[in-house]
Subunit: 810 residues, 2 copies
């Protein structure tokens, strides 16, 4: 469908905005009074636009900027009560909202965290003098102070104090500052558990929004979790008392001789770490005592622990939906605010392209003129020159699209001479044929079996000293040829656009690098050779379920990574505390008085004429520096045999140390349960989605098609000429030239983006979403009606006063 309306109407719009940017108001009136009142008083009449042209343009620029800020706040789920309120705040806001500032934030936070590598107890290679690391810390803290002062400038003192996270950060900063100075003055490190709080600087980074969301989700899931945990602990206490009464008469049973031991061992039993062992002394005495343990494990491990997962999963599910709802409504409100700032008094029914373009200049400065126009056209579903509010609601879905001219050529070699075309066409057909694909699968399978057999034949020793095996070269050649054929047959761009091909490519590349390493005897790179079996992963393309699972895996990856990061933050806190208390307490042959002495033994004795070393190795699981602590904490997370580490440390310190380990277990249990719930939820959601949309074709992300005529492009060029935007003009002229070259009157563009969880949710909750919208606008209307009963007609668009805004969207 081509538009034939005079283009001028899209691009010309010199009216005045219905509403004015609050910064502008601030500039013009400088009395800091109420926004709504001032706005009504000082809005210029429609006629005086010619006289104050430059002022009007300035007005509009300010409106564009504030609208863009609203849209950003909507996207990032920033509350509107942090919206910059005047021109000074705006400057600070803009300063604090760009990637340079974010990077500074992030690097300061990372520097602070990494300092623990160099502070005593430091990693041996990275040890720094106290003066050096304290100075570094002080420097980083000063940078944080600067960041916070910028934030205060933007938020104003009132809002700054009301913003909880920022307040906590300020307090932590204060404490850290004092401690850093104390360290610098005393020239010696004292017990600084507060270092564990450094994480908050990382969590507060703009880039760590996902971590903040995870933490919020974890805290929201806590109440039901704690309830069930209490049930769990309650049964544990009952069984501890029971076990004490039943088994303490047996003097050869070290596990139940006191109530404390009984409790600790049942706690460990809950993690099954000490399982058959804890039962054995009593089982040896009376076989029926196994009933006690079986009942305990059945209730605690197989019932209540699963109940815990169920409760968390249920809460998680519920929270996910509520989160989606509140985010959706928040975005909607943001769009309403932005819309209000972009319509003119002359045409209050929609946004013209000129204003839309102005908005996008601030919202997405990197977008080119063509894309701006395409976005406008994609939004505008009613074919009128103005984008109505209803269409504008789709802003977030459309603005992310990447636009490309639809190719007329099917293959990259269509323009080549006839002979070359035929050759490449042949390769193309070959590469796309089933025979070729299945041949490759067979080769991969044979290769897999080959590697397995080859490895099985080897019996230890250094495998790499010999020559490169011929099988390696043969298979690598086959993969190389396949890669070459595919690249030429499909064209490099199409070839690499598929994730699977990218995977093939990198594995083959690695294999080639491995060959090089073997051929030139570069020992440190031998590990690359070992990655060969990864080729086998290609076989999983064969079955639909695996494709589904692996796709889900890739979709989950960002969230998984953020959950992993959240876990690491907990690790960091525990590592710092662990280092402060337990650094250096465990060493070879340290725990001879404890029941786990064997695991810490290191004996070097001579049998015959050979020196035999008997090692328990557990002394390696220590808190001597932050890297060791992380490994130790990972071992505690895996839970198996964690009591050996606990008992080792306990025997060298006090039995209160157990609290540390038990609390760590419970914390990781929470996080792990959340991770399991998350995977469950994501997977089941995805499966339900697939089931619901079984009839629709393969999922290729969101695709939109729009046609642009030459006239339209010329119209836009005219518009830009007035604002003298040289780069935009040349870019647009290129499109016109292209059209002329192919003799087309119009070009079709394709907008594409990958599908996000939000898109899936939109589809899943389709019906409910309408209800939410209605409920939301009802609520807003009633609120506005209460406030201003006179202006009821356009009420849902009226931005609420700041206080109200923060109430509406929580």
């Amino acid at each position: 469908m081509r538009w034939r309306e005079p283009p001028a109407i899209y691009f010309e719009d010199s009216g005045n905005p219905v509403e004015r940017s609050s910064y502008l108001i601030e500039l013009h009136t400088n009395d800091g009074g109420s926004y709504d009142v001032v706005n009504d008083a000082s809005s210029p009449a429609a006629g005086d636009c010619c006289a104050q042209q430059s002022s009007a343009r300035h007005n509009w620029e300010m409106n564009y900027q504030e609208a863009a800020i609203y849209l950003q706040e909507g996207e990032n789920n920033d509350k509107f009560f942090t919206h910059p309120k005047n021109a000074k705040a705006l400057a600070a806001y803009l300063f604090a909202h760009n990637h340079l500032f974010y990077l500074m934030e992030l690097s300061t936070a990372l520097l602070l965290l990494l300092l623990s590598l160099c502070e005593a107890p430091a990693v041996p290679m990275l040890r720094l003098g106290i003066f050096v690391h304290a100075t570094l810390e002080l420097f980083a803290l000063i940078v944080v102070v600067f960041e916070l002062s910028m934030k205060m400038r933007w938020l104003g003192f009132q809002t700054f104090i009301r913003h909880k996270r920022t307040m906590v950060k300020t307090c932590v900063l204060f404490v850290q500052f004092i401690e850093a100075i104390v360290v610098l003055v005393r020239q010696t490190s004292h017990v600084r558990i507060t270092r564990a709080l450094r994480c908050i600087f990382l969590v507060d980074c703009r880039y760590c929004g996902a971590v903040r969301r995870n933490l919020r989700q974890i805290f929201q899931s806590l109440p039901p979790f704690i309830d069930i945990l209490l049930l769990l602990l309650f049964f544990m206490v009952i069984f501890a008392i029971l076990g004490f009464y039943l088994f303490s008469p047996n003097h050869s049973d070290p596990y139940f001789n006191t109530l404390e031991n009984s409790l600790v061992n049942l706690f460990v039993l809950l993690t099954t770490s000490n399982f058959p062992d804890v039962m054995m002394p009593s089982y040896a005495r009376n076989p029926w005592s196994c009933v006690f343990f079986i009942v305990y494990l059945s209730i605690e491990l197989y019932f209540i622990m699963n109940l815990l997962l169920a409760v968390v999963f249920d809460t998680f599910n519920d929270i996910e939906k509520r989160k989606f709802k509140s985010l959706l409504l928040h975005k909607r409100t943001a769009i309403q605010h932005a819309y209000r700032l972009l319509i003119t008094k002359q045409r209050p029914s929609g946004i013209s392209f000129k204003h839309f373009e102005g908005l996008l200049r601030f919202y997405k400065p990197r977008m080119c003129a063509r894309e701006r126009y395409l976005t406008f056209k994609a939004l505008n579903q009613s074919n009128t020159p103005l984008v109505s509010l209803k269409d504008f609601y789709n802003f977030y879905e459309v603005v992310g699209l990447k636009w490309k001219a639809k190719r007329n050529r099917e293959h990259w070699f269509d323009d080549l001479p006839r002979t070359a075309f035929l050759i490449f066409k042949g390769i193309n057909i070959l590469v796309k044929s089933r025979v070729f694909q299945y041949t490759m699968y067979t080769v991969v399978a044979v290769n897999g079996i080959w590697i397995l057999v080859e490895t099985f034949m080897l019996q230890g020793g250094n495998f790499f000293s010999r020559n490169v095996p011929w099988s390696y070269i043969v298979f690598l050649t086959i993969y190389g040829v396949e890669l070459l054929l595919k690249t030429t047959g499909l064209g490099p761009v199409e070839y690499l656009s598929s994730g699977w091909n990218l995977f093939d490519f990198s594995v083959t590349l690695f294999a080639f690098l491995g060959l090089m390493a073997l051929a030139f005897n570069m020992e440190p790179f031998y590990f690359i050779v070992v990655l060969r079996p990864l080729q086998l992963l290609r076989l999983f393309k064969l079955k639909k379920r695996y494709r589904n699972v692996l796709d889900t895996m890739f979709e989950l990856f960002p969230r998984m990574a953020s959950l992993g990061l959240t876990l690491l933050i907990f690790y960091y806190c525990f590592a710092i505390v662990g280092m402060e208390f337990f650094a250096g307490v465990v060493y070879p042959n340290c725990c001879n008085t404890s029941t786990v002495a064997d695991s810490y033994r290191w004996v070097n004795h001579t049998v015959g004429n050979k020196t035999v070393v008997e090692e328990g190795y557990y002394y390696l699981n220590n808190f001597d520096n932050i890297l060791n602590s992380f490994v130790t904490l990972f071992e505690l997370t895996v839970v198996n045999d964690w009591y050996i580490i606990m008992e080792g440390v306990t025997s060298q310190t006090t039995h209160w140390s157990r609290l540390y380990f038990m609390i760590f277990y419970i914390v990781t249990m929470v996080v792990m349960t959340i991770i399991v719930a998350f995977i469950l939820d994501a997977f089941v959601f995805r499966m339900n989605y697939t089931r619901k949309n079984q009839d629709s074709e393969e999922d290729n992300g969101i695709v939109l098609e729009k046609e642009i005529s030459k006239e339209e492009v010329v119209g836009i060029i005219e518009l830009y000429k007035r604002t003298s935007a040289a780069t935009e003009i040349t870019q647009l002229q290129k499109i016109v030239l292209q059209m002329d070259k192919y003799g087309q009157m119009s070009t079709v563009f394709l907008g594409r983006r990958s599908r996000t969880k939000s898109d899936l949710s939109m589809k899943m909750y389709e019906e409910e979403i309408q209800e939410w919208y209605e409920e939301h606008s009802r609520k807003e209307e009633s609120q506005t009606a209460l406030q201003e009963p006179a202006t009821a007609s356009n009420s849902s668009l009226k931005p609420l006063s700041l206080r109200q805004r923060s109430q509406t969207v929580i």
Copy 2:
């Protein structure tokens, strides 16, 4: 609402059935021809009923019986192709479908299973001679043969062969028979792994329907499970190759020195049983090698294992819904079949009470006349004398109700004299007051803390030799008084109708028995004393979430028990196999050549003048008899340190033994995942249900109210007088007397039953159910239309031919 229609119309109905029971047809025609054809040909005309009254009554009796059988088949989800086809089959069906026969089935199966206690390797105390146990087995097998022959008589040879489960059972029976005879002849037990197949006799029992359903569900969940399992194993192989290449050059690392070891240890690592240990040698050499293990565990344990749960959960969810749907439609079809047999030619629009009563006599012989009539009235929602098909569809929901006359008295003591009444009323108010309840909670809490402190003070020794502690007596007295007050205040019936009160009662009773045991020094009962802390469970009544959780727990209990039984059946199979191969291979100091020798050590040496016994105890985890095997298998299920058991056995046999342990791990993993999925599903379902019905009041099961007038009762008595059913008449006359006594014209009855999962599902899938019904009837209509295009009007009621039936409901 009271009915005033002449009662005769309900009770009189001497017409002929529209359709005749197939047994009757068989009796009358004896040609075994097609059911539909014969029926159409031989149905007597409407007029000749007076002449053939006794024959007609006989006809009706047969119809009642077949209708009852249809309804039973619908309820038990028996396929209609096993419906008895003629009078001979009916006799066998009736013989094989009563509790006596079921009990025989069950006890034979149990006898066969329990034989493994006495067969070598037997539990020492229960050892029997080969002759004795082989004879017992032969006897049990003969009983099974008898059962099967009855089944064959009922099903007919054709159906018998087509019924898969029965065929498998027959084959197993045959093998067992031969083996039992061989044992008897040779007078020595050979390797009889086939004993593991004895479980099938238990699974086939009528009472083990839940186990069969579980097994079916497990098998249905298998395909996706196996897919993910392959992914898991695939990564394991890749990492095994990698690990072998990376770590085998380190000669002090026993875990990766061959590819087989590498594989086995990564398998064990998947269960985390060997975790920090397997890493330690390489970690000691190069700290960065921990990356290998962390990546492996992250992928396998934290990602794919959770994916496995997600996939199973998803499949489980789906299966549950499909199962509910098919069961619902199956019941509907059964009701249609039954309805067709109960309507008369004169009144084809519904079932009269006379015929309904006849049906119930066969369907629920123990139901009394009053209940039958109330069920009829509850079904009959249209207030006409006949129950239409639409009403009859609610049969299964209504027939389970327990009817009781609505009491006019509020309390049990309402009839007592004034003074007594006031006293009891006071107690009643006291008992129901919040103050009393919270006082009791406080007492329980204090008691709990008291017990904890008291136990903490004790330091080993024999606690029971002293006198009864006074605190015990004080608290028991308080509980006793509470119990007394509650029983008198509420009346014993109301008191015990609450599950919580029942729990209080039994715990208090136990505490009292414990006191007796202490007072009279009955040592074997001391363990009862130890159950006191269970009182503390009462505290969980305080919070809503706990009540919810505990209620869900009780609701889940039957399914959990059946899942447990399913697990036990798997245990049994593995125990038998384990005993055949590994009995007696493990003993103290047996595995000195293996890496786990320490755990099997038993050293008795003298230090100073004391004898010190060092025990590894693991030799106790053996397969020497079936009880030991079960405990060992439970330890393997808990997974921790299972590799010690595996390596011990392996070192004494061949390394193929590992297969047994690995397969067992995978099987329990499947069952455990299903259990987790089940708990998750049940809990989330329940939570969603609660959320959906938040506004409705507390859940008290299904309650229905029906009023019966005196005239109606008299009418029923008349009806029964004609059939000379003496007990029913006396019973009904009692109701009339009761009414006369209180001068009422009618009595209100309450029907009550507890809510089942099916009720919840009905409510949850409300909308979808209508779609299913429509789809179902459409499908049936089209099938019937294809078969008989002429009789389209009443088509959905027409029972399909037997073959078709089995197709419709699968």
